[in-house]
């Protein structure tokens, strides 16, 4: 069986960066990120790992990585491709700046690229992007492509023309399946993306890469967004912390309990 998997990979500011690197600008209603590098959205890395796992088990699999955005770092994409993809599509255009597209517009852009890629059996994407935290684009894309979608997968298998997933549930998991072509949103439980070797990174430079601009696509994003930001603020969650000072850690533990009692917390 041959299987063509498209993996969606959005570039986001490193979500593990310290809170101080995310500057909230209420005037401009945008977040300016300082001093941290862009990365592939972590759940998209998990989606890529799921695709590579299928490559190891299902037989003939080709993986195409697809990223849309504005100012996509070639190095970031290269590292992801080197982990096990066979080709990549980058749609890089100021019109596709993530800050100016809502979920619906993003899904429309990705759908236009997928139409252009043509044949595919499976689309894997992250359960949510680390900047929007929305969890919408995958389902929107499946809607636009008229294919079934399964969400929040902790494992993905393919057999007999069907995709089978274990969907993460609050108290365990649920097995669900759908005929191919299908879209699956992937969760972290599937496992971290493997590291590419230096040789693989070198070799990945020679893999086919298609770079497109908005003018290459049959999609007009103006007026596609259905949601807009009216205000943006930094969360206020800081508290004043009573630090327990004591002679040594054991004593500190005891004093903490005493203090909680005094304050009628326990």
């Amino acid at each position: 069986m041959t299987l063509h998997i498209v993996v969606l990979a959005k570039q986001v500011p490193d979500p593990e960066g310290p809170p101080t690197s995310f500057e909230v600008d209420p005037e401009e209603r945008r977040v300016t990120v300082r001093g941290i590098p862009p990365v592939v959205n972590p759940f998209d890395e998990n989606a890529l790992e799921a695709a590579i796992k299928l490559k190891e088990t299902v037989g003939e699999v080709t993986i195409t990585l697809l990223s849309a955005g504005n100012g996509i770092s070639k190095a970031v994409i290269l590292k992801a491709v080197a982990a096990g993809a066979d080709a990549s599509y980058l749609v890089d255009d100021p019109a596709f700046d993530p800050a100016s597209l809502d979920s619906h517009a993003s899904a429309a852009v990705l759908a236009a690229v997928i139409e252009r890629i043509g044949d595919y059996d499976l689309i894997l994407c992250g359960r949510q992007a680390a900047d929007t935290n929305a969890g919408q684009v995958g389902l929107g894309l499946a809607h636009l492509l008229h294919i079934p979608a399964l969400t929040v997968a902790q494992s993905v298998e393919v057999a007999d023309g069907r995709a089978v997933v274990k969907k993460v549930m609050p108290d365990g998991y649920e097995k669900a399946e759908a005929p191919l072509p299908a879209l699956i949103t992937v969760s972290g439980e599937i496992g971290d993306l493997r590291y590419p070797s230096l040789a693989a990174i070198k070799a990945a430079k020679a893999l086919p890469q298609t770079v497109l601009a908005a003018s290459d696509l049959d999609v007009d994003v103006s007026g596609l967004s259905r949601v807009e930001t009216v205000a943006l603020e930094a969360p206020s969650r800081e508290r004043s912390c009573a630090l327990i000072e004591a002679d040594g850690p054991e004593e500190a533990g005891r004093m903490l309990a005493e203090r909680l009692r005094e304050d009628r917390v326990i």
């Binding site: 500011p13 593990e16 310290p18 809170p19 995310f22 977040v31 979920s103 619906h104 899904a107 935290n133 929305a134 919408q136 389902l139 929107g140 079934p148 399964l150 929040v152 902790q154 274990k166 993460v168 549930m169 609050p170 108290d171 365990g172 998991y173 649920e174 097995k175 669900a176 399946e177 005929p179 439980e189 971290d192 259905r226 949601v227 807009e228 930001t229 009216v230 205000a231 943006l232 603020e233 930094a234 969360p235 800081e238 508290r239 004043s240 912390c241 009573a242 630090l243 327990i244 850690p249 054991e250 004593e251 500190a252 533990g253 005891r254 903490l256 005493e258 909680l260 917390v265 326990i266």
Partner: protein, 328 residues
């Protein structure tokens, strides 16, 4: 009569077929939004065998309850729920459709929004009627910012976190209407059974005391010690994401933006640095207590009490002293 200012909530039922606590919170919030917009509140209840549940829900302030009762709606299959709800809402053109941000709601919300061509805001931590429209508040950038959003479409969908609304007190019953569920003949998605983690412990979301361990716990053994402390209070054990990824704690324990959202009376964070993704799931807690060996750890800035030290040395004496205090 369809009314552009009506608010609809989609009810979710527990296994025992009662409206979930979150559903009742949606009723409270929906009522406020309806009042603010000058419309009515309605609840839609998809499922099977829900007569008693519908009557129960009808005591919480809606103008009416619509029941979509069909054996095929017994379990949540998006391929069945979506066309049924899409059919229900077509021609009703509500102002807003409010859904619980649960595993069902997070899956259904986007599907329904795209099918209806409506704007959607997921995982909302706030919602209000303002300037003649509905404004929704949600975390972005992993909780590093809070965005207030509006939809440009006539109808807006929102999935809502726990504790955004408050459940109204039950009063008189409102009308319950049975609506025929247009179940599709052909479905593509098949459900193949559920596996539930058996846990004798108190559910995380309901616990009054949550003891959470982070990467610094170092292994599954450490979580045994956290469990001992949690048990003293009849509470629950949580985890940040790294212990879950490493298999020290089950997925069901994860607290945060992609885990559970909790707001216990006491939240004890042990060896957790305080990433914004984690704080997003616990910052509404009553009192926050942190134990961390790094005095610079951000968790101390969002805590009420803190001890700087190695948890292995701090926790045993803390647990022992708490036990004595509780036994007094």
């Amino acid at each position: 009569m369809p009314d552009q200012n009506d608010i609809y909530i989609i009810a979710e039922l527990s296994e025992e077929k009662h409206p979930t606590p979150l559903t009742l919170e949606l009723m409270g919030l929906g009522k406020e939004l309806a009042a603010g917009m000058g419309g009515d509140l309605h609840a839609v209840m998809p499922g099977e065998g829900m007569e008693a549940a519908a009557v129960e829900l009808s005591r919480y302030g809606a103008s009416g309850i619509f029941v979509l009762d069909h054996p095929a709606l017994c379990d949540y299959n998006p391929d069945i729920y979506l066309p049924v709800l899409e059919g229900f809402f077509t021609d009703r053109s509500p102002r807003a459709i409010i859904i619980s941000h649960t595993s069902i709601g997070a899956d259904l919300g986007p599907r329904l929004a795209f099918a209806l061509g409506a704007g959607l805001v997921t995982d909302c931590v706030g919602a209000r009627a303002e300037a003649g429209e509905i404004r929704l508040v949600r975390p972005v950038y992993g909780g590093n910012a809070l965005a207030t959003l509006r939809a440009t479409t006539d109808t807006v969908l929102a999935t809502l976190r726990a504790r955004v609304g408050s459940a109204p007190s039950p009063s008189g019953e409102s009308e319950v209407t049975l609506v025929e569920a247009a179940v599709p003949a052909e479905i593509r998605i098949g459900l193949r059974g559920r596996e539930r983690a058996v846990s004798a412990e108190c559910p995380l979301e309901e616990a009054a005391v949550v003891v959470t361990g982070g990467r610094g716990i170092g292994g599954a053994d450490g979580f045994e010690q956290l469990r001992e402390l949690a048990r003293l209070f009849g509470g629950a054990v949580g985890a940040s994401r790294p212990p879950v990824d490493s298999g020290w704690a089950p997925t069901t324990c994860q607290v945060g933006i992609t885990g559970k959202v909790v707001a216990p009376d006491i939240y004890i964070a042990v060896a957790i640095s305080g990433s914004s993704q984690h704080l997003s799931g616990m910052s509404d807690s009553g009192k926050v207590v942190a134990i961390n060996k790094d005095p610079e750890a951000y968790i101390f800035s969002v805590s009420d009490y803190g001890v700087v030290g190695d948890w292995r040395q701090v926790l045993p004496s803390f647990t022992a002293r708490c036990r004595d205090i509780l036994n007094e």
